[in-house]
């Protein structure tokens, strides 16, 4: 099986994630879509590593996982703080700042 298919799958997952960020309204779901984008990138990195015949791509995927985990910690803390205030995690409700 050629590795190109994995690149296409990765591009598809990345696009699904990006569209999800733009159309979903719940902050937690938006954040999950960002995580989907990061993991789609991981698939790309590993595939390119396979194509290039070296392990750098796999090592980079580990770095990305660590960063994603750190981002979850910070992100959920911020989303929790705003949820406790407003009793809602909808990003349409946070609309005090505009224009």
């Amino acid at each position: 099986m050629t590795p190109t298919y994995y690149l296409l799958l990765s591009a598809l997952l990345f696009t699904i994630g990006a569209v999800g960020v733009l159309v979903r309204r719940n902050a937690v779901v938006v954040f999950m879509c960002v995580e989907l984008m990061l993991n789609a990138v991981n698939l790309s990195l590993v595939t390119f590593g396979r194509i290039n015949g070296e392990i750098d791509g796999q090592v980079m995927a580990f770095f990305v996982m660590v960063v994603a985990a750190a981002e979850v910690v910070v992100g959920l803390a911020i989303i929790m703080a705003i949820f406790r205030t407003r009793r809602s995690a909808s990003i349409d409700d946070t609309n005090l700042l505009k224009y």
Binding site: L7, S10, F14, G17, A18, V21, A27, V30, F31, V34, M37, L38, A40, V41, S44, L45, F48, G49, R50, I51, N52, G53, E54, I55, D56, G57, Q58, M60, F63, V64, V67, A70, E71, V74, G75, A77, I78, I79, A81, I82, R84, T85, I91, T94, N95, L96, L97, K98, Y99
Partner: protein, 524 residues
């Protein structure tokens, strides 16, 4: 079966050579940040503020001394260390010095407790806005002192970001600088709803942008077989891989970098976050994040994509024009002074991009000088904004600034000077900055873009002068704001910003020499 790649690697892994003297400033800043977290855990509450402030200021000074000691006998061509992932060269050293000096000013603003009893930060981030505890914390003297280690982490990330010589290091540094900023945006003592909203918006959009940045890295890894900037440059000279990977990767990478620099169509977070975040943090972000983002952008364009500049320059032309237009025209319609400075920063990002696109020595030194000049001016401007207050906190609506010169002639004069510097009037650093950047662009054959940039800087000058007219020629409102008498910290920060703005305007030669001291280290 064993992984075939692992079998191919063979041989022992060599320990990379580390030039500790070169990266000592970063190590000091990040090490002190870790110590700060420990202090937060072990010190009793009443001791934390003085110890954290002392540690943070000491750290920045110590990192500055280490930097100064290294600059004296640094090799002219610069070096790369940590097996080529970090480059310590003339631009990196200049940007480190700029970042440390700006961070010193920002930390002074963050630590100030004279204009408000406990400072600009919430006593405990866990208290929900609008509750009884929240009303109690507004008048308390407590403060969430984690802000200081978070500032140091962000500063360490920014310094690494400007020196990163491969894209993976750059990505890690980007996250190290961003994650603390997301948190600090949500820690305002007053108006906590908009502060938290700013944090959520900044976080979600920032994570979205860094996903694009990362996908760009993956594409370029596929193209060049390496994420080293020098290897990417070598691959653009001749490789059998598809150019689609190169340009898709370049575009996605730029989205992430331009987002951090709040340029052009990627600016949408800037006004909201600048307005909602506590003013000292806005000052830190506006000054230091801009420096870090453009430092990284310069390195990526100069080292990795110099030879393909004819392919991407057209796109960045459009981005720079959009950025200048959005900043200058939407800035005209603003009624909040923090939002107005945010749009001004978007316009300045466009001017900076004009200099960045000129892939010449003048373009490099001009952009570096512009970053230094703009950082100090905007830092002092936010320091002044934090002093104009009414009963509910800072009075940022422009109507409250009417007739301010009658209440406080000194404050009005200082703010006028800073606005003139942002507009680029001669005898201020803003004029010299614009001059060197535009002349570099002109000599690199971008005359039409320079004309457009001059038109938009004239448009932007109008909204700065509107505030000046408002302060001097309007009657003050009867229930207007008061101007707080700043304590030593805020006075020092504003004085630092104003003095540098004036000095760089009158005697720019020293800083221009330093900015033009040398190019990027090219060896990998």
């Amino acid at each position: 079966m064993l992984n075939p790649f692992l079998a191919q690697q063979g041989g022992a892994i060599e320990t990379p050579q580390i030039d500790y003297a070169a990266i000592l400033p970063i190590l000091i800043v990040l090490g002190a940040a870790c110590v700060g977290v420990l202090l937060e855990a072990f010190l009793p509450k009443h001791q934390r503020w003085p110890v954290q402030v002392g540690l943070t200021l000491l750290t920045i000074v110590a990192a500055g001394v280490a930097l100064g000691a290294y600059v004296g006998d640094a090799p002219e061509q610069g070096i790369t260390t940590l097996s080529g992932t970090v480059a310590v060269d003339a631009p990196a050293l200049f940007l480190w010095g700029t970042l440390l000096a700006l961070a010193l000013g920002a930390v002074l603003l963050i630590a100030d407790r004279s204009v408000e009893p406990g400072g600009a930060f919430v006593a405990q981030a866990g208290i929900s806005p609008g509750t009884v505890q929240d009303r109690a914390q507004v008048s308390s003297t407590g403060m969430q002192t984690e802000v200081f280690p978070l500032t140091l982490f962000a500063l360490g990330g920014m310094m690494t970001f400007t020196a990163a010589n491969d894209l993976l290091t750059m990505f890690i540094a980007l996250e190290v600088l961003s994650l603390p900023l997301y948190l600090m945006c949500g820690l305002a003592r007053r108006r906590r709803l908009i502060s938290q909203e700013a944090a959520v918006k900044y976080f979600l959009l920032g994570a979205f942008a860094s996903a694009f940045f990362l996908y760009g890295i993956a594409m370029l890894y596929g193209y060049a077989g390496s994420v080293r900037l020098a290897d990417i440059a070598a691959a653009t000279a001749g490789t059998d891989r598809s150019d689609t990977l190169l340009f898709a990767g370049f575009g996605l990478l730029m989205v992430g970098l331009l987002f951090k620099g709040s340029v052009g169509p990627f600016h949408t977070w800037t006004p909201d976050v600048y307005q909602g975040a506590p003013t000292p943090i806005t000052a830190f972000m506006a000054a230091c994040t801009k420096v870090a983002a453009f430092g990284a952008l310069l390195r990526v364009l100069f080292v990795a994509f110099e030879s393909t500049s004819w392919e991407w320059r057209g796109v960045l032309w459009a981005v720079a024009i959009i950025s200048m237009a959005v900043g200058a025209i939407l800035g005209l319609t603003q009624t909040d002074v923090k939002r107005m400075i945010a749009y001004s920063s978007i316009a300045h990002a466009g001017f900076l991009l004009v200099g960045t696109m000129a892939i010449t020595d003048e373009g490099l030194s001009g952009t570096l000088f512009y970053l230094l000049a703009y950082g100090f001016t905007t830092l002092a401007a936010f320091g002044v904004i934090s002093l104009v207050r009414d009963a509910s906190g800072e009075a940022t609506h422009l109507s409250a600034w009417a007739g301010l010169s009658k209440r406080s002639p000194l404050l009005a004069a200082v703010f006028t000077f800073l606005l003139l510097a942002l507009a680029g009037i001669p005898l201020t650093s803003g004029f010299v900055g614009k001059f060197v950047v535009f002349s570099a662009a002109l000599s690199d054959g971008m005359a039409p873009l320079v004309v457009i940039a001059l038109v938009f800087s004239a448009v932007a000058a109008f909204f700065y002068l509107r505030v000046v007219v408002l302060m001097y020629f309007s009657e003050p409102a009867p229930e207007g704001p008061t101007v707080s008498v700043p304590g030593a910290f805020t006075t020092a920060a504003i004085t630092l910003g104003v003095v540098v703005t004036l000095l760089l305007g009158v005697l720019p030669a020293f800083a221009l020499d330093w900015a033009g001291a040398g190019g990027f280290a090219l060896s990998s």
